[in-house]
């Protein structure tokens, strides 16, 4: 089975049809996606701004990063699962969208970013309380750039043919 016929099969599933053709389902899932971006994005941005030393400096790095961790995870799960449902509704359109493939590449980069920086930076907040390392600042800057790119490509998908 080739890719296009697989995606055609996805589009014929009940779930895909229901989201695509129902009047309310698509905007509701889209609404969840955006709300999750607000919640998750807000915590992500504040985490990275703290790591850069630009925000919330009255508190140590670990005092900011540790309580945000659970919320960021929950937000990520919400963003990713609602995004997956939206993608499930129109896989052929996405397959032909350049922005979508850039977004997939950025998501893969987020995965690589986590592999590279998780142990040294995000899970190592206590050690950063004493001194913000250049590595932590690099991780934060890259994270902000990657997530901004994900927002931009996500929006661009809607404008691709």
């Amino acid at each position: 089975m080739n890719t296009v016929s697989t995606l055609e099969w996805v589009e014929r599933t009940n779930l895909s049809t229901a989201i695509r053709e129902g009047a309310l389902l698509y905007p509701i899932i889209g609404g969840f996606h955006v709300l999750a971006i607000a919640l998750f994005g807000g915590m992500l941005v504040m985490t990275d701004l703290r790591l850069l030393g630009w925000a919330m400096q009255r508190r140590t790095v670990s005092e900011i990063l540790e309580p945000f961790r659970m919320w960021k995870r929950a937000g990520f799960v919400l963003v990713a699962s609602s995004g997956l449902l939206l993608a499930w509704a129109e896989p052929l359109k996405l397959y032909r969208s350049t922005s979508f493939w850039v977004k997939v590449a950025l998501l893969a980069s987020v995965g690589v970013h986590a592999l590279v920086f998780r142990n040294g930076v995000y899970q190592n907040a206590k050690a950063l309380d004493a001194r913000l390392t250049p590595r932590a600042k690099l991780a934060a800057a890259l994270s902000l750039i990657l997530w901004a790119g994900l927002v931009v490509t996500g929006r661009l998908i809607a404008f691709d043919a």
Binding site: P27, G31, L39, G41, G42, V45, M46, A55, E63, R155
Partner: protein, 155 residues
């Protein structure tokens, strides 16, 4: 339609023309709107969750609100610049859009609430029940703003 002349004029302004010019203009401004959303509503939600007593409990609401305030304001500024830009691009249609009208009503309430009662609720002397109530109202108002915004494209 009578009464649309202001909105027709808005669409002839240089910034509206710029928005309707290159293909990438609208999505790029919309993306900035989303980044502003994460900053503004995101940081307000953090304070709301603190008021509700379910996040960042090691810090006081007042300290958290004070530290996040500048970022909330930067986010709000970004929203209040990019939002009207997008509105101008298609003002006549947007001003008849019920989702946009709903969003603007909720936004007015949310902003007034934010700079009055929400701010006061973060004071250390506020009774805990009142603080929780303020957090809940704030969350509900901003969720309505975001949901109304999302629905603009679908009505």
């Amino acid at each position: 339609m009578q009464g649309d002349s202001f909105f027709e004029w808005l669409m002839t302004t240089p910034w509206a023309k710029a928005m309707n010019g290159p293909e990438w203009a609208f999505p790029v401004v919309e993306s900035l709107h989303f980044i502003g959303l994460a900053l503004s509503v995101g940081t307000i939600a953090i304070v709301d969750l603190r008021l509700l007593g379910i996040a960042m409990v090691r810090q006081s609401s007042s300290e958290l609100a004070a530290d996040l305030d500048i970022w909330t304001r930067i986010g709000l500024a970004l929203m209040l610049i990019t939002g009207p830009l997008m509105f101008s691009a298609n003002a006549v249609n947007y001003h008849h859009n019920p989702s946009l009208q709903f969003k603007m009503a909720c936004l007015s309430l949310a902003l007034v609430f934010h700079f009055t009662m929400h701010r006061r609720a973060t004071h250390p002397t506020t009774p805990s029940l009142l603080a929780k109530f303020a957090g809940l109202v704030s969350l509900a108002l901003w969720i309505c703003v975001v949901a109304g915004g999302r629905m603009i494209a679908f009505v």
